[in-house]
């Protein structure tokens, strides 16, 4: 109950924040622009639109997750609003989870709006060629679903940094680094295998196993080429993401419980 009260308030704070609308505006702009780009190319235009559209949803979703996620706790401490909440009968871990869920709801609403934008553009594209609107590739929603699971992981990472750091800039840099490296883990492994220097090999192997492999959530290529994405794969990756989230939240909770709010 208290978790939901906190979550609702976090959502309310986010939708009264201008930064959210700016990010959403640019994301929709990118998706719309993909239609123009598509007309300049030969071949299957819907492929390009889906390619650009899904990439935009991923990147802008990640920006929302990172920037609002970092601020989630740091802002509460900076503005000292946290004092009056933790002086109420709210266990600290419940506060943390409430904040997390509040931001997830915000992100969900946003990527659904972006997804709807992409869907409309795809429909327009089909209509322009005189096709049926049922020709639109419905699998984009599978891709968007997995983007959401990925954003759950990124939000959890941002939240974790903000539970022990008091610098938003540093936390943002770390989270963005985790996002980029998380998408490059395969490359990281290749590099790790080639590197002879054991001094470098250690950290590279560590990052490979410690950071989530975010490319697991990326099925854009298969969707673009209308290849089948088995449900078993989606289920497996979902479990992987949720497991990662659980571990990070647990860790954040432990750090947060011991912290002084001064």
């Amino acid at each position: 109950m208290k978790v939901l009260t906190i979550a609702r308030n976090t959502f309310r704070e986010a939708i009264r924040d201008k930064i959210l609308y700016n990010l959403l505006f640019f994301a929709l702009l990118m998706i719309a622009a993909s239609l123009l780009l598509a007309t300049l190319t030969v071949g299957e235009q819907s492929k390009i639109i889906i390619d650009i559209g899904l990439a935009s949803i991923n990147v802008f979703g990640a920006l929302i997750a990172i920037f609002l996620g970092i601020g989630l706790i740091i802002k509460e401490i900076e503005k000292k609003t946290i004092y009056n909440i933790l002086a109420k009968p709210v266990p600290r871990y419940q506060f943390l989870i409430g904040k997390y869920i509040g931001l997830l709801i915000t992100i969900l609403v946003n990527i659904v709006i972006m997804g709807a934008g992409l869907y409309i553009i795809l429909i327009l594209n089909e209509l322009r060629w005189g096709h049926s609107i049922f020709d639109v590739n419905f699998d984009i929603w599978k891709a968007i679903y997995l983007i959401f699971i990925e954003l759950m992981v990124i939000t959890a990472i941002a939240l974790m940094f903000s539970t022990f750091s008091s610098s938003s800039t540093l936390s943002a840099i770390f989270t963005i680094a985790a996002y980029i490296i998380g998408h490059l883990t395969e490359e990281l492994k290749l590099i790790g295998d080639k590197v002879q220097d054991s001094l470098l090999k250690g950290p590279i192997t560590f990052f490979y196993y410690f950071l989530p492999n975010l490319d697991n959530f990326n099925i854009k290529g298969r969707v673009v080429h209308r290849l089948d994405v088995p449900s078993s794969y989606i289920a497996l990756v979902t479990v992987y993401g949720l497991f990662y989230v659980a571990v990070i939240l647990l860790l954040s909770g432990v750090i947060f419980q011991r912290r002084d709010f001064k």
Binding site: M1, N9, K80, T81, A87, K262
Partner: protein
Amino acid sequence: MTNSVIKTENLTKVFKVGFRGKSVAALKGLNLEVTEGEIFGFLGPNGAGKTTTIKILMGLIYPTTGKAWILNKEAADVEVKNRIGFLPEQPYFYDYLTSREFLRFYGQLFGLEGDELRTRMNNLLTLVGLEDAADLQLRKFSKGMLQRIGIAQALINQPDLIVLDEPMSGLDPIGRKEIRDIILRLKEDGKTVFFSTHIIPDVEMICDRVGMLMKGELVNVGRLNEIMDAKVKYVEIVARNVSKEMLAHMEAIGSSLYETCDHVSINVRDEDRVDSILQLIKDGKGSVVSVIPQRETLEEHFIKKIGGTS
């Protein structure tokens, strides 16, 4: 032990500041006890450690050593907070909420809902005089309004203990009086009020007991009349139409004189001399305007203490 509402034992808090981790001792072995039903004034100059103490009591920071109990439970206990009302130092609240949303939010954190919550919200808005601002966002509030809505949220759970960190700061005299009246009303209802301040007259007017904190140490605690010299320091007589020679005479018996345009004020240290001076004034066809015994004020006491410790 049963009626002890706040109790601390050898409370120490050391902050590490800067990159070098220099230690600052904000509290040095604080022992404090507040009993049920009293208004306790926690007095101290800036940086004395009042907020630090309150933060430990509210479980926001952990003491370096020592222990703190509230209503016979450890201060960090989450459940005991159901019975506490708290107003933080500056009204640090979500400014994007309206008064109503704000009170509802905190009420919900206490598990309140429905009609019960609505009734309490309306009563509190009336109590603090913010009915007209019920749907105004907090970012548009004046400092005094913020302080009032802060008091309102502190009372939403009908607490047994109310902890207020500088509730009168930033308020005008009328606002301060209103807060004092609310505090007195809470006492009448049998509640315990603990508040910090450095505004001495507020303490003098309503507190049952005061604790004086200085540089992290409790330098004095007790009833006001116990703490201060209750003895009359001198008697001030204000008179009119007193001749020059009469004044010289009075000065000779050991009183100090201050002349203002048409009044003269005579400070008599020795109470036994008061009668003879009054007789002198009458004999000289002068008239007495007032006779006031002067005691040490809390303010003088306070300043004396600060001077003594620094």
